[in-house]
């Protein structure tokens, strides 16, 4: 169950929730900001991972 992707999603979820409640007071702007932050981080992480794919630094770390 523990995987790089799920941990990245969990991190993005927590950070997005934090900034959403910190920066916005009303429901609709909160939802919009949450979606922007969450998908921005997850998709941004995937894009960076894809760009780094041709340049591996070594064997992947074992994840149970």
């Amino acid at each position: 169950m523990l995987s790089h992707f799920l941990l990245m999603v969990l991190f993005a979820l927590l950070v997005s929730l934090f900034f959403t409640v910190l920066w916005r007071r009303e429901r609709r702007p909160q939802v919009m900001l949450f979606l922007q932050l969450f998908f921005g981080m997850v998709l941004g992480g995937l894009i960076v991972a894809w760009l780094m794919y041709p340049f591996p630094s070594g064997p992947p770390a074992p994840i149970p």
Binding site: L2, H4, L7, L10, F11, L14, V15, L17, F18, V21, L22, R25, A61, P62, I63, P64
Partner: protein, 149 residues
């Protein structure tokens, strides 16, 4: 005398918004300092002190959850390492979470495990919890000084 006492206690009512800006009136300096100190010591407590109870509880739960995930992943709780200047900065960031940092470090002797599979992620979660709480301290400062709703 009564006025002096009231400045050091929790604000009894939510600060009334200024008609000109719609922002709450600034708190007296003693209350502001108390709010900032509480915000650092316990995540969300500064907001509760300023009568933002729902947000305070939400932030408390979020920061504690982030901290818990970091500990479950056996991440590193930063401490200063001679010869590595960035660890001093990271330690300050981690200490931003307040009392939980000292409970983990000195009460539970938590150190993390460098060979754990989730070590790097856990370290990021633990550091993020501290940085989140530092932002909460700044938020309490802004609310208490009348710059933010």
């Amino acid at each position: 005398m009564a006025e002096t006492a009231s400045t050091s206690a929790s604000p009894d009512t939510e600060p009334q918004p200024s008609p000109a800006t719609g922002l709450p009136a600034p708190l007296p300096a003693a209350q502001l300092v108390m709010g900032v100190a509480l915000a650092w010591l316990v995540p969300g407590l500064g907001h509760v002190y300023l009568k933002r109870i729902g947000r305070g509880l939400f932030f408390f739960a979020l920061v504690v959850l982030t901290l818990t995930v970091g500990c479950m992943l056996q991440g590193s709780l930063y401490r200063p390492t001679p010869g590595q200047p960035l660890t001093y900065l990271a330690t300050l960031g981690s200490m931003g979470v307040g009392i939980p940092y000292f409970v983990l470090r000195y009460g539970m002797h938590y150190e993390g495990a460098q060979d754990a599979a989730g070590y790097e992620y856990g370290t990021a979660f633990l550091l993020t919890a501290g940085l989140m709480n530092l932002l909460l301290v700044l938020d309490v400062w802004d609310i208490g000084s009348g710059k933010k709703e």
